[in-house]
Each structure stands twice: as structure tokens, then as C-alpha cells.
């Protein structure tokens, strides 16, 4: 009897484990059961969003998702596009290229999205390309690597200023400070590797020399060894290229090592977490980015200033803090897509949507004023950039 009871217990366990998958195996061909759409509302236009809600870019993914949620709610309150509401399906790529590919595949094959916003990072954005090409739908990336639009793909667009704009701007600024020898530290993947390549290509033009070039991996917790080498090589400034949370570790390591040479960064560091993470070590840190952080930089009579103020007001009211540049990149990506949709017939195809996005002209967004073209899917200029400095725990415009 005891043996039988144990068998029963074991069986129950197996069945409990088996029941979940088996329950649905027969209904896998059930297809899409879309959310209970009311009779008068039209089928929503579905957009996929692959964002880094966890991992080293979590600090970027969060404001991006915030901006998308807020703007979609507003667009739908205003009646959607051509009477169709917009529905965004979010996927977390955990700052991992492989997860981004799986998420994209799911969005395309399972959710049937018309376009994809993402990924948050350059590595994820590039990894998704195979799936994007297979499905033939447009991708609008909020990541800043040059490779995204430099390695041109007709389906792929980008909203931030790419490294090929930011790097020369930054290097020229550094050279103007009377510096000639720099040490570079960049993360080994995605945005950092992309930035390093652009840095090396532009050093000579700016009249600078890299006396040390060091790399680190996402997830590393101490960069003292690399910084010591940079210091030993006689660098007069450190140029750091990463969008990860490791940036604040680098600033802290420099302070701990007693390094007094200035630290320069990229538009990937325009996040409050950097200042919070590095504390006093963040003081004096300089980086180039868009104007949303200090909207007066737009010029207070411009349309861009009004758009930015409106966005800042609504975002601050909703989330209790000011939006950063990443929220702006997502805002731009969504509005460019939605504007393109509104120029089309109700039953547009993915190819028509792509063409309409490419036809974007003079869209005044947060990152700047976008004009895409047949061979320009970045649409920004260096005029959209400004140099910031961290002072007393906040951003100010650098001279």
C-alpha cells in the first residue's frame, strides 16, 4: 500500500508538470485571439518595442518605455491614427543581443507588428537585423551607434545622433581645451566598440593622439587597471565611450586613483544614474548630447523649444522627474512612425510604412529636427548637439 501511495504522489507531480504544456498543445493552431476589441473601435495598429528594462542599459530602457506609454495614451485619446488606436507590445531584451533577437522574432511571428522600435542598445539593434529583413518591416532604433545607419539597411532608421556626429564634435571640443594626448576607455560591445572605431578614425582630424586605448566588458566592476595604464601613458584627458552603468564606476575609480585629468564621455552618459552613481566623482565630467537636458539650449523662440517644454511638462507631471535624452529618442521614434502612418491609407503595407518613414521631412522632435532621405536614416546634424558639464550634482552647459 505504501508503495502504491508513493506512486500516486509521484504520478500527481508528473501530471501537474505535464498538464500545463499539454493543456494547450491541441490549441496551438488557435491563432491570434486579439484583445476584446469593441465593435466601434477599429483594429489597433501594433508596434513592437524591444527595450532594455533590465541589464546594464536598464537606466535607458526605463525612460524610453515611460515616454512611449505616455505618448501612446495621448495619441489614442486623440483618436489614434486614421481611427485606429496604437498598441505597443513591449519586450525586455535584458540588454542582451540574443534576447533581442528572440523578442523580435516573437513580435513578428506571434504579434504581427507593423514596425519595431528598438533595441535600446546598439548591439541588440544590430542583432535584430536578420529578423527585420526576413519580415520586411521597418525598425526605428533609439540606440546611438554609427553602425546602425552607417552599415546601411533600407529598413532601419535611427533617432539619436550617431557616434559619427558626436565623436568629431567631442574631439574638436577636447582639442580646443588645449589637450593633445588622450586615453580612451570603451566597452567592448555594441555602442562602445562602435564609438572606439569612430574615435580612432577621427583622432587625426582633430589633431589628437591616443596614448592608450583600453576596453572593458559590460558587467565589469572595476576598471582601475585600465585607468592606471592610461595614467601611466601620460594622457591629458580620459575619453570614455559606453552607455552602460559601468560609466559611474570608471569615474569613481579615477577619483580613487587620484587622477585629476578631465573625463569626457558620450551621449550615452546623459543619465541621472551616472551622477547618482559616481557622486562627487562625477563633478567636472563633460559630454555632448541633445538639448532636452537644458531646453533653453534650443533657443527659446524656436518650435523645438515649445515641443520640448510641452514634453518635459507632461513627462514630469506623469513620472515626477524630468525626461532625459533617452526618453526623447523613444518619443521621436514613436512620433516619426505614427506621423508616417497618418500619411498612408488605412490598410498600408510594411513597405509603404517604410517609404513613408523615409519621407520624414522637418519633423521637430526632442533630439532635433529630423529629415530622413534615401541614404540618410539618421537625419540629425551636429547643430543638434551641445556640450554639458556636471556641476554640483546636475548638468550645466559647458562653455
Amino acid at each position: 500500500m505504501r508503495a502504491a501511495r508513493r506512486t500516486l504522489l509521484a504520478l500527481t507531480l508528473v501530471i501537474a508538470l505535464a498538464v500545463v504544456p499539454l493543456a494547450g498543445c491541441s490549441s496551438t493552431d488557435g491563432g491570434e485571439s486579439t484583445d476584446n476589441g469593441t465593435d466601434e473601435a477599429k483594429e489597433p495598429y501594433r508596434i513592437g518595442a524591444v527595450l532594455s528594462m533590465t541589464g546594464t542599459y536598464a537606466g535607458l530602457g526605463e525612460p524610453e518605455k515611460n515616454a512611449l506609454e505616455m505618448e501612446v495614451a495621448r495619441i489614442n485619446e486623440d483618436g489614434g491614427v486614421n481611427g485606429h488606436p496604437i498598441e505597443i507590445i513591449y519586450e525586455d531584451d535584458a540588454t542582451d543581443a540574443d534576447t533581442a533577437v528572440a523578442a523580435t522574432s516573437r513580435l513578428i511571428d506571434k504579434e504581427g507588428v507593423l514596425a519595431i522600435i528598438g533595441a535600446t542598445g546598439t548591439g541588440g539593434t544590430m542583432a535584430m537585423r536578420g529578423e527585420i529583413n526576413r519580415a520586411g518591416i521597418p525598425q526605428i532604433s533609439p540606440a546611438g551607434g554609427t553602425v546602425i545607419t552607417g552599415d546601411f539597411d533600407p529598413l532601419v532608421f535611427q533617432t539619436p545622433w550617431s557616434n559619427s556626429l558626436v565623436v568629431p564634435y567631442t574631439l574638436d571640443y577636447i582639442a580646443e581645451q588645449g589637450i593633445s594626448k588622450i586615453g580612451i576607455i570603451a566597452d567592448s560591445g555594441g555602442f562602445g566598440a562602435d564609438g572606439l572605431a569612430v574615435l580612432e578614425a577621427n583622432l587625426a582630424d582633430a589633431g589628437l593622439e591616443a596614448v592608450a586605448t583600453e576596453a572593458f566588458n559590460a558587467g565589469d566592476t572595476d576598471m582601475s587597471a585600465q585607468l592606471t595604464k592610461i595614467q601611466g601613458a601620460g594622457a591629458e584627458a580620459v575619453v570614455m565611450w559606453t552607455a552602460g552603468k559601468e560609466a559611474s564606476i570608471i569615474a569613481t575609480n579615477m577619483k580613487d586613483l587620484g587622477m585629476t585629468i578631465p573625463l569626457y564621455g558620450s551621449h550615452g552618459n546623459a543619465r541621472v544614474e551616472f551622477i547618482e552613481g559616481a557622486g562627487a566623482a562625477a563633478e567636472g565630467f563633460r559630454f555632448a548630447a541633445g538639448k532636452i537636458l537644458i531646453p533653453e539650449a534650443y533657443g527659446d523662440t524656436t518650435e523645438a523649444y515649445q515641443v520640448a517644454l510641452d514634453f518635459i511638462d507632461r513627462y514630469s507631471a506623469e513620472y515626477g522627474k524630468a525626461p532625459d535624452t533617452f526618453a526623447g529618442h523613444a518619443y521621436d521614434a514613436l512620433h516619426i512612425t505614427v506621423n508616417a502612418m497618418s500619411t498612408l491609407d488605412e490598410d498600408f503595407t510594411a513597405a509603404e510604412l517604410r517609404d513613408a518613414i523615409e519621407a520624414t521631412t522637418g519633423f521637430v522632435g526632442i533630439g532635433g529636427t529630423f529629415t530622413y532621405g534615401a541614404d540618410d536614416h539618421n537625419g540629425m546634424t551636429a547643430d543638434d548637439l551641445v556640450m554639458y558639464e556636471v556641476k554640483d550634482g546636475t548638468w550645466v552647459l559647458a562653455e
Binding site: P21, A97, G130, S188, G190
Partner: protein
């Protein structure tokens, strides 16, 4: 007495019939997946097949020979990168990539078999764990071959001659065909002399040696076969997805594989295969329950690792023999049911547990 042999042969016939039915179900399943999300469903079922293939290799190593590997994700990765490099970078046909994957993982298995000759239990587990971690770092750092942390993209689809496995159905059949072949090979191994040697090794290494089992040869062979199965799976994975990055081949995945093997049970091939199917589908609950809301989906995905851990704990506590053990008990009960009404030999049913 002749009644007993009759029952055993009937039992074997029943088993063959079950296997045939299962094969048929797996083979025709794609024909019934026709919804708008068919492509996604088939892709997930293909991943299930890939995991079944790896876990079959692990069943030989862990379930039969009793050797723990916490580094199997590394073989999977080695196979994936070897195949990706040969097909995408060198532009060779897919079967050359597959051959490269087999060669590289066989070498890897050999490399891991050497310490296993001296190490046992926890120490072997630590050595394989170290091997897995070293390989993960290699995948990240050897960026000129592997693409580094950004991964390796643009891997062509599997092909044989001029035939390209381009549709999700054809890839599904390819992967499950290979998995079935691997199970068949494994069955032949375990039902013969090597299988008995492996079970002896599982029971007592010293005892096996005393009984004349060639431990060195056995361990090396089983490690190599197990590694090659994972390498073939890696080659299939790389060609199916078209993209690989180091984050797929982490310690986490090795643990998931061990969880499948543990849940599946020892001295069985069917158990681990069933466990691989069940646990792979945990990651894709929306395949199983199509109406599932996205919020629940997100919760399940967040707790995925915890679900695996819970499975291991529950299995070790209540079902130490895994699915296979439970299956054997059920079969034993059934056979007793078959034997008792007609048979005078009541002892026969009890012995079924050892089959």
C-alpha cells in the same frame, strides 16, 4: 513459465507501438499548426527538439554513466560557433559546418574527459563548471572569430546540396529527425554491452573496474558522444536562428540542462526527453496557453529560473527517479494488471521495476 516470456514480448510490442505513435505525432504535428502565429509556434517546437537532442546526450553521461556535467552549454556554444564560422565566414556548405561542429566538440569532450578520469562527484562538477565558464569567456574575447559580446549574425539557413531548409516546417523536421536519430543511436548504446558498463560505472566505479570494465575508454567515449550531441544541436541552433551570442551559452543554460536530466530521471532516454519538452515549454507559456495575458506571461518569464530550481528541489524530494522512475512504476502497475488475472506467477510483476 512460458506465460512470462509471452508477457514480456507483448510488453515489448506495446513499447514499440508507443514509440511508433510518438514518432508519428512528432512527424505530423507541423501539419496541424496552421494559425497566424504558426511560424512562432514551429520555431518554439524546433527549440524543443534542439533541447531534446542535447538532453539525450546528457542522459547518456549523467543518467547512465553517472558523470555530472555543469558545462554542457559550452559544447552547445562550441558547436554553434564552429558551424557559424565555417558557414558564414568561410562560406562553406552547412554540412561542412556540421562536421566542424562535430570535430570541435569531440575534441572538447576529449579535453573534459581527461580530468573526469581523475575526478569524481563534486570535483568533477567543479571541473566541468570551470570548463563552461572558460569557454564563455573565450566566446566573449575571441571577437575576431565569435563577434565578441555583440554576437555573430548572418548565419545561413541549414542546407543539404541545393536544398535549403527555408520553411519553419522543414527546419522542424530536420531538427526532430536529428533528435530521433540521436535517441536511436543512444538506445543502441545503452541496450548493449556499453550500456551495461555505464550502469556499472554509475553504481560503483571500483566495482565496475573490478568487473573488467575499461573505465578510461568508457568515460572518454561517453563524454565525447555527449559533447557531440550538444555540438550538433549548436550547429542546428545557429543555422535556425541565424544569430548567436555568448549569452546563450552561459552557466544558467547548463543548469537548465541538468534540471532537465534530473527531472527526466536516470537510466532512461524517454524520461529526459519528456523533461526537455516540458521544461523548454515553460519558457514559452504563450505557446501552450494561447489566450494567456501578457502580464502573466511576463511574470512566468521573470520567475523562469525559480521554476527550474523548484522543479529540481521537488524532484529530488519526491521523485528521485524522475519522470522515468514514475513511468517505470506505472508500467509496473499496468503489467501487474496484465499478468495477475491470467497468470499464476505473481512474482513477475514485481520484477518489472528493474526493467
Amino acid at each position: 513459465m512460458s506465460g512470462r516470456s509471452l508477457n514480456i514480448s507483448r510488453f515489448l510490442t506495446v513499447r514499440a507501438a508507443i514509440v511508433a505513435v510518438l514518432l508519428l505525432v512528432v512527424a505530423v504535428l507541423p501539419l496541424f499548426v496552421t494559425g497566424t502565429d504558426a511560424r512562432y509556434v514551429l520555431k518554439v517546437l524546433t527549440f524543443v527538439g534542439i533541447n531534446v537532442l542535447i538532453v539525450t546526450g546528457l542522459a547518456l553521461l549523467f543518467g547512465y554513466a553517472g558523470q555530472v556535467s555543469l558545462g554542457h552549454a559550452a559544447f552547445y556554444g562550441l558547436g554553434a560557433y564552429a558551424s557559424a564560422y565555417v558557414t558564414a565566414t568561410l562560406g562553406m556548405p552547412w554540412f561542412v559546418g556540421l562536421a566542424a561542429a562535430i570535430a570541435v566538440t569531440a575534441l572538447g569532450g576529449l579535453a573534459l574527459a581527461v580530468p573526469s578520469l581523475r575526478l569524481r562527484g563534486h570535483y568533477l562538477a567543479m571541473a566541468t563548471l570551470g570548463f563552461g565558464e572558460i569557454m564563455r569567456i573565450v566566446f566573449v574575447e575571441a571577437s575576431s572569430i565569435t563577434g565578441g559580446p555583440d554576437g555573430f549574425s548572418g548565419i545561413p539557413l541549414p542546407s543539404l546540396g541545393s536544398f535549403v531548409f527555408a520553411t519553419p516546417q522543414s527546419i522542424y523536421w530536420l531538427v526532430w529527425g536529428v533528435a530521433a536519430l540521436a535517441i536511436m543511436i543512444s538506445y543502441n548504446i545503452v541496450s548493449g554491452r556499453p550500456g551495461r558498463s555505464m550502469r556499472a560505472l554509475h553504481g560503483s566505479e571500483l566495482g565496475a573496474m573490478a568487473s573488467g570494465v575499461d573505465l578510461v575508454g568508457l568515460k572518454v567515449r561517453v563524454f565525447v558522444i555527449s559533447a557531440v550531441f550538444a555540438g550538433v544541436a549548436g550547429s542546428l541552433y545557429a543555422a535556425t536562428v541565424g544569430f548567436v551570442s555568448p549569452s546563450t551559452f552561459t552557466f544558467h543554460f547548463s543548469v537548465v540542462l541538468v534540471a532537465m536530466a534530473v527531472l527526466g530521471g536516470t537510466r532512461s532516454l524517454a524520461g529526459p526527453a519528456a523533461a526537455a519538452i516540458l521544461l523548454t515549454l515553460v519558457s514559452f507559456p504563450d505557446i501552450v496557453l494561447p489566450g494567456l495575458s501578457r502580464d502573466i506571461l511576463a511574470v512566468v518569464q521573470d520567475w523562469e529560473v525559480d521554476i527550474y530550481a523548484l522543479v529540481i528541489i521537488l524532484v529530488v524530494l519526491f521523485l528521485p527517479e524522475g519522470i522515468a522512475g514514475a513511468g517505470r512504476r506505472v508500467l509496473g502497475l499496468l503489467r501487474r494488471g496484465v499478468v495477475e488475472p491470467s497468470g499464476s506467477d505473481s512474482g513477475t510483476g514485481q520484477r518489472g521495476d528493474e526493467a
